[in-house]
């Protein structure tokens, strides 16, 4: 599936704005995706990654599945497939 980063989060992932992830299962929950990303992030940043906080996505990050806020779906439990696009977007405060 396609993972996109916005609002500076790409800096946690080697400055890649998009990543392709594949899972052996045809469907996984978004929580599984997040754990996989946290692992990638930790490896890239030598075990110090600020993607998660207390096991949850850090405050200030919106999670969008196919351009819809995961709060409109089943949040962490939302089932995603290979054709889905998931955007992790950090809020900006400048102006």
């Amino acid at each position: 599936m396609k993972i996109e980063f916005g609002g500076g989060l790409e800096q946690l992932f080697d400055n890649k704005q998009t990543l392709e992830l594949h899972f052996d299962e045809p469907e996984v929950t978004i929580q599984t995706v997040i754990e996989k990303l946290a692992q990638i992030c930790n490896e890239l940043r030598s075990n110090v990654c600020l993607f998660l906080q207390d096991g949850l996505v850090r405050p200030g990050i919106l999670v969008l599945i196919n351009d819809a806020d995961w709060e409109l779906l089943d949040k962490e439990d939302t089932v995603v497939e290979d054709k889905d696009t998931i955007l992790f977007n950090s809020t900006l405060h400048g102006g």
Binding site: L50, R58, P59, G60, D69, E71, L92, H93, G94, G95
Partner: protein, 286 residues
């Protein structure tokens, strides 16, 4: 000044606004909704400059501008309506607006918005957040919820921008979207992050467009178009494809600290806004 009392517009306003009154969704009805409205823009910087210019051009009846800062050279790449260094930014925009459209009633506040002077917001119909820091964003949100004002908020950094309409039509507020502020240790000063001026410009002109749309939504003739209203956020990112899109965001949250039925936050307590004045979470700077 000649006044056509039957219509509510003065004669010279027909020549000034005629081109936009030809738009079917505007017309005389829409123009009057602009003229009768009072809009306050907080921040006369990168977002505020274009936003205020187009609100003034469109004929918003009463326009307030709030900014305590003075113009510096380093602002000019993005704050393109300023030019005189050392001049207060709200005053600088007052001069600009009075040249562009002397028909606008202007209220200039050269102070910072705080919990103590928040009551100034009560005079206006729509609030536009053009500030540049996280503390102001929570404060403005809370004032808007407590005073029941719709809020058009936008932000920009580097080559990206975000915009959303909050506290409108029973939709979410800023705390519904972001219940917890970013931790201070994850923050960095504004001056450490950069931004491209035209990106802020896109967001500021989009903000002005949303304010005008909210006013047009109130016109009975546009009531059918309003069916399509969805809680949403516009995301812009210059090096992405698609570069710009509008995504659907969550509704008002039942457990929101301020906009829920039984809120934790009932008044403006200064201690709720004591994070770094210019806090931008930037993972790269840790």
């Amino acid at each position: 000044m000649n006044s056509d009392l039957s219509s509510g517009l003065e004669l010279d306003e027909y020549s000034r606004y005629g081109r936009q009154m030809l738009v079917p969704e505007i017309g005389l009805e829409g123009q009057l909704s602009f003229k009768e409205s009072k809009v306050i823009v907080i921040g006369a910087g990168g977002l505020g400059c274009p936003c205020i210019a187009y609100l003034a051009g469109a004929g918003i009846g009463q326009l307030a501008i709030v900014d305590p800062d003075v113009v510096e050279t380093s602002n000019l790449h993005r704050q393109v309506l300023h030019s005189e260094e050392g001049l207060n930014k709200a005053e600088s925009l007052r001069r600009f607006v009075s040249k562009l459209n002397p028909k606008i009633a202007l209220d200039i506040y050269t102070c910072r918005l705080t919990t103590s002077n928040a009551s100034i917001i009560s005079k206006y119909d729509i609030v536009v957040d053009c500030t540049d820091n996280v503390a102001a964003r929570y404060l403005i949100n809370d004032i808007c919820v407590l005073m029941n004002k719709p809020l058009v908020t936008a932000s920009a950094l580097r080559l990206e921008g975000q915009l959303t309409i909050l506290n409108y039509k029973n939709g979410p507020c800023y705390r519904c979207l972001f219940p917890r502020p970013p931790a201070p240790e994850l923050s960095t000063k504004c001056a450490e992050s950069g931004v491209l001026g035209s990106v802020v410009g896109v967001l500021g002109t989009l903000q002005a467009s949303q304010v005008l749309k909210l006013l047009l939504n109130n016109c009975p003739k546009n009531s059918n178009k309003d069916d399509a209203y969805q809680d949403s956020m516009i995301l812009f990112s210059l090096f992405k494809f698609p570069q710009i899109k509008q995504v659907r965001i969550r509704p008002k949250q039942k457990d929101c600290q301020i906009c829920s039925a039984d809120p934790l936050i009932k008044t403006l307590d200064p201690s709720n806004y004591e994070f770094p004045v210019c806090a931008i979470p930037s993972p790269a700077n840790i």
